[in-house]
């Protein structure tokens, strides 16, 4: 088992899963009612205008607490991005397990992971891309 954990693909998966868990913990620790989030929108600070991702931390915290309607009102795309991170967490565990279990299909597995993750990313962050590139 330790032999497999040393494989680069598994290490990448473990670290990425750890980052996602940290995002979830961050959303769970900070209460949306107290509004004491340490991350502020740089965009809003510079331009004075709220951007498309403003309220994402609030939205994540509210989703974790099951207040979905409020989460939707804080950021329309919050749910989509939260689902992306949740699915990625599941995918990291699943693909790592498959990588260890099915030795013969590793290349296909990695290709599937890359294609699936890229597609999921593009779908989830589509509006953010549109927002960025409309000004470029």
């Amino acid at each position: 088992m330790v032999r497999f954990v040393k494989k680069p693909y598994v290490i990448v998966n473990i670290v990425l899963a750890g980052v996602i868990v940290m995002i979830m913990i961050y959303s769970a620790i900070f209460s949306p009612d107290e509004d004491e989030y340490p991350v502020v929108c740089i965009h809003e600070k510079i331009t004075g205008e709220p951007c498309v991702s403003c309220g994402l931390s609030h939205s994540f915290s509210l989703i974790l607490r099951g207040r979905l309607n409020e989460a939707y009102s804080w950021n329309v795309y919050g749910m989509r991005v939260f689902l992306f991170f949740s699915l990625q967490l599941i995918m990291r565990v699943f693909f790592s397990f498959c990588y260890i279990k099915f030795i013969d299909t590793r290349k296909q597995l990695i290709m599937m992971d890359i294609i699936g993750s890229v597609l999921l990313f593009l779908i989830s962050f589509r509006q953010f891309f549109i927002y960025i590139f409309q000004y470029c």
């Binding site: 980052v19 740089i42 965009h43 809003e44 510079i46 331009t47 962050f125 953010f128 960025i132």
Partner: protein, 164 residues
């Protein structure tokens, strides 16, 4: 033994570069924190570059390193583009007063154009008596009336001259 350790260092650098690049890419796309992603983006590029130089010396696989480098460069570029996005929005915000002024001028022009072709009707009621004054300030009608009046005046002048 030493070569194996250098190979491992190269691979570890590749893993670190790839992870940093992927995280940077995700954060670079989020406008709120996109600008901050420049720093990890540069770190990913540096890690991948150092790893590539190690790999070149030891002939170790470069797949992860190249992937980390490419994702890192793209992520840094997206993150850097946020500077222009912020600049454009700020510029747009500065232009707003001019835009509002233009809108006010347009509305004023439209109102004046509408008034030129307006029909005015005044109705005065006093018990059973009702007086209604209707007038049109249609520009076309006014021009026609003026032309008619001028025409009548001209013909009257001609008659006077003929009589003399």
């Amino acid at each position: 033994m030493e070569e194996e350790s250098t190979k491992k260092t190269g691979q570890n650098l590749g893993i670190a570069a790839l992870i940093t690049a992927i995280i940077t890419f995700v954060f670079a796309v989020i406008p709120c924190v996109g600008l901050m992603a420049i720093i990890p983006g540069i770190i990913a590029i540096v890690l991948a570059s150092v790893g590539l130089s190690h790999a070149a010396r030891t002939d170790s696989p470069r797949g992860i390193l190249i992937a980390g480098l490419i994702i890192g460069i793209v992520a840094t570029m997206i993150s850097f583009s946020q500077v222009f996005v912020a600049g454009k929005i700020a510029q747009k915000a500065d232009k707003w007063p001019d835009v509002i002024e233009d809108v006010v001028l347009d509305v004023k022009k439209d109102v004046l154009e509408d008034l030129e072709d307006a029909n005015i009707s005044i109705k005065i009621e006093n018990g059973d008596e009702t007086v209604e004054i209707s007038t049109s300030v249609n520009k076309k009608e006014l021009v026609e009336t003026l032309e008619e009046l001028e025409g009548e005046e001209d013909s009257t002048d001609m008659d006077t001259l003929e009589q003399e």
